[in-house]
Amino acid sequence: MQGLLGYVIRRLMWAPVVLFLVSFLAFSITRFGPGDYVDILAGPRVTPAAEERLREQNGLNDPFYQQYGDYMWNVAVHHDFGESYTKYRGVDVWTIIWPRILVSLQPGIVALIIAFTLGTTVGLFAALKQGTWLDPFSIGSFLFFQSIPVLVTLPFLVLIFVVKLGWLPATGWGGPDLDVGPQTISLGIFSKHIILPALALSLPSVAGVARLVRATTLSVLGEDYVRTARAKGLREWTVVTRHVARNSLLPLVTLIGLSLITLLEGAFFTETILGIPGIGALAYEAATGRDYDIILALVLIIAFAFVMVNIVVDIAYTFIDPRIRLDGQGQ
């Protein structure tokens, strides 16, 4: 296990480096964009003197590296992501972001569950029906949804279920209350508001899960222990649940990272089109409104989540399947 431990340590050491580069890149982009805080703050009635005063107060006349250093120091030490400058003026960024993360997570989690359960079922089914018409049929039907961007499917879902049939609510979000710090959010997960976003987000991921499950199941079906189990005269159902399913589902862990990316990118469209107050809508709002500290914080948090999820998945996978070689050392 020596190699494994070293691998884990190396992966963990790599994370701060990536995060440093990501933060530096994102920070530079926001600072080199047109107009700084003050340009953006300045309405049509500001005087040049007031502008200069604001610039000095906000440390915008400091050298670039110092601004970056100050920012990262505040984030790392004080957990302070700055404050909003346009849309939610004066409000602490973390106060804005935290409830929205909780909102975005709800359709995300439901979509993840739908994608994985539906995908696994379809994949297992296809593998067991290999050679019949049901195999390509079941997978192929979801391939279509994998290809179509959320941006295209969602308006159609709105057109059908909200505008034409009127089955789903016209507002974006609502549900029972949940208090988080100074804010209250709605648990849309317990209302009909969850249906459209969860559906639109999960559909593209089903085919990926199904195909992986199908491939691994086929290879597991060929393994000796499955044939032994069958030879022992175990019922087909028992074989499938005890032996096949367990071993063929492990590789799904790798897909979680990928699915998270798909979900996050989909959230931009579900949230802007449906008006859900989550981080996708916030990121769009902040980027177009040049609310720099919000974008920076979002990019940092998302990148952090990605890096961590990828590391956890990688490490988990090496534990699950010892055949996987670490960094190609196996040769």
């Binding site: 049509p44 279509f144 974006g172 959010i185 559906l199 107050p277």
Partner: protein
């Protein structure tokens, strides 16, 4: 086995399954489309609203914030729904007759405001003269970073010293005793009391502001309504203030939904008042439709205009400005694109304003003459013009249809290709103000119904808000005379004279005045739609809703 056929039938099958799943979910969750919305509360008015940028009156400068602020907070004076100045926290309006307004020997003017007896904040703490002084000084404090305080409060003696950090207090504001405040301004300006009606001068609770960093999330004001709930991106609920000094409001609470399509919500009975989008207008205006009975429309004190930067090529030449104005067929844009939802503007001043002149003449559409003017200009015609970039505010994927139509008319009628540039609104305002654009399209909503807020603000060559850098000494003289003129009739005449000169010079080319289009449920009575953002919820009463 033909895989293509299988895949396609698979797609269809999936769609069927998806619909099936949805139906099951719907049945399981109750099926009725109203169940997810909260049940109708007795005495509650339900509206749609926009998320406010801030609820801090000192820094708010946009209509979406002001809508809530004017209900939650009060100033010494206020505008009623007809936009007349009324006393609010003050007992009466200070005038020369009642001794509230005194012109001093050095030309400064002192107003004395006496607070109403028994004034209370929402938390039942009494309002004192100190609170008034503190609130105005707070708006002027450089740490507050208010960008509008200078415009609205800058006339007060000692304001600039405070804003520049040279003084702790504003010398022109004195709390004489617990219920008396005096405000001294530099010179006698008829419009100063109007400026005090803007949120910048509203009264906030000193103890709350100083103690609680997050106070704008649960502000303690004096207004007819207090903030009950603000759920980010979802709703804002205002609760009636039973102790309100001008009488408790009739509605018990007001719920603003911040997302969702208003007409859909209106039809499903989830809101009581809805704005009508352009695409729904035809349906709503059709007398055969049920909704038509609830439809209401009226004018607002607002103007959409094209601005030509008179400092930049080629619009430094008045002939070019006239040519570009005359090449636009406003009538056609209004009817074909806006479906008659907005009235064409032929004047800068707005119907309903004191000096509105129905006979004012903006350049009229005339393609022939426009081309001729362009040829007569220093550029000698379309080919001699430098590249032109036309700016509008916006971040979406597409430009406003009106903008695109205007660009097309210039191409067709003048043979000039103009590029559109979009900028996000905050940046856009900044770039307009600093003269980075050659031409732009913009709107103006009156802050208060006084021509100063329109003409002096935008066309005086010294004004910071002169967005076209228009400089005409004759106009300057007229506008400055009008500002100081106390005789209303002569004042109107001066403004009308200036307006016609400006219209002929075309720094601004007025496009449309604004109209509102609303659906109001019959049981909502006295739903006033003032021309500017002023307090109005307390006038509304609710009848018996239809079952």
């Amino acid at each position: 086995m033909n895989r293509a056929v299988l895949v396609i039938s698979g797609i269809l099958a999936t769609l069927v399954v998806a619909v099936g799943v949805l139906v099951v979910v719907l049945v399981a969750t109750g099926g009725d489309s109203n169940d997810s919305s909260d049940p109708k509360v007795e005495g509650e008015l339900r509206l749609v609203g926009a998320e406010p940028i801030t609820l801090d009156p000192a820094i708010a400068q946009d209509a979406s914030s002001a809508v809530y602020i004017v209900e939650i907070f009060d100033g010494l004076v206020t505008l009623d729904p007809d936009l007349n100045i009324q006393a609010d926290l003050a007992t009466e309006l200070p005038t020369v007759e009642n001794g509230g307004k005194v012109v001093n020997a050095d030309g400064t003017v002192t107003y004395t405001f006496r607070l109403r007896p028994g004034l209370l904040f929402h938390d039942n703490k009494p309002v004192t003269a100190d609170d008034v002084k503190f609130s105005i000084e707070r708006a002027a404090d450089p740490a507050t970073q208010s960008l509008v305080s200078q415009f609205f409060l800058g006339d007060i003696v000692g304001f600039d010293e405070k804003l520049n950090g040279d003084a702790e207090e504003i010398s022109g504001i004195q709390a004489v005793d617990a219920t008396t405040v005096t405000i001294t301004i530099e010179t006698d300006l008829p419009s100063f009391l109007y400026k005090l009606t803007y949120p910048t001068a509203f009264v906030v609770d000193r103890t709350q502001v100083e103690r609680d960093d997050n106070w704008t999330r649960h502000p303690n004001g004096t207004g007819a309504f207090e903030l009950d709930e603000w759920r980010l991106g979802e709703r804002i609920v205002l609760k009636a203030n039973e102790n309100y000094h001008l009488g408790a409001p009739s509605v018990k609470s007001v719920r603003y939904l911040l997302t969702g399509n208003s007409i859909t919500l209106y039809e499903s009975g989830e809101i009581d008042v809805a704005g009508v989008a352009l695409d729904d207008l035809g349906r709503v205006q059709d007398p055969a439709e049920d909704l038509n009975a609830d439809y209401r429309s009226g004018e607002r004190l607002a103007l959409d205009y094209l601005g030509f930067n008179t400092n930049s090529e080629p619009f430094s030449d008045p002939l070019v400005r006239q040519a570009f104005a005359m090449a636009i067929d406003k009538e056609q844009i209004a009817s074909a694109i806006f479906k008659g939802a907005v009235p064409v503007a032929n004047s800068i001043d707005i119907p309903g304003m004191p000096a509105y002149n129905p006979n004012a003449q903006a350049p009229q559409f005339d393609a022939e003459r426009a081309r001729q003017l362009l040829e007569d200009s220093t550029y000698g015609g379309a080919d001699g013009l430098p590249p032109i970039v036309f700016a509008e505010s916006g971040t979406g994927a597409t430009s406003g249809p009106g903008t695109v139509a205007i660009i097309d008319m210039w191409r067709e009628n003048l043979g000039v290709d103009v590029e559109i540039q979009q900028a996000e609104s905050a940046t856009f305002f900044q770039d307009v103000a600093s003269g980075k654009y050659q031409a732009f399209i913009l709107g103006w909503i009156m802050d208060y119904p006084d021509e100063e807020n329109l003409f002096n603000l935008h066309f005086d060559s010294e004004s910071a808000n002169n967005d076209t850098f228009y400089n005409n000494p004759e106009v300057d003289t007229l506008l400055r005379d009008a500002l100081k003129q106390t005789d209303q009739q002569q004042r109107i005449q001066l403004y009308q004279q200036a307006e016609q000169i400006i219209l002929d010079d075309v720094p601004w080319f007025p496009l449309f005045h604004d109209r509102y289009h609303l659906l109001v449920k019959p049981y909502v009575q006295n739903y006033l739609v003032p021309s500017a953002v002023v307090e109005r919820l307390r006038f509304i009463t609710l009848g018996q809703p239809a079952p």
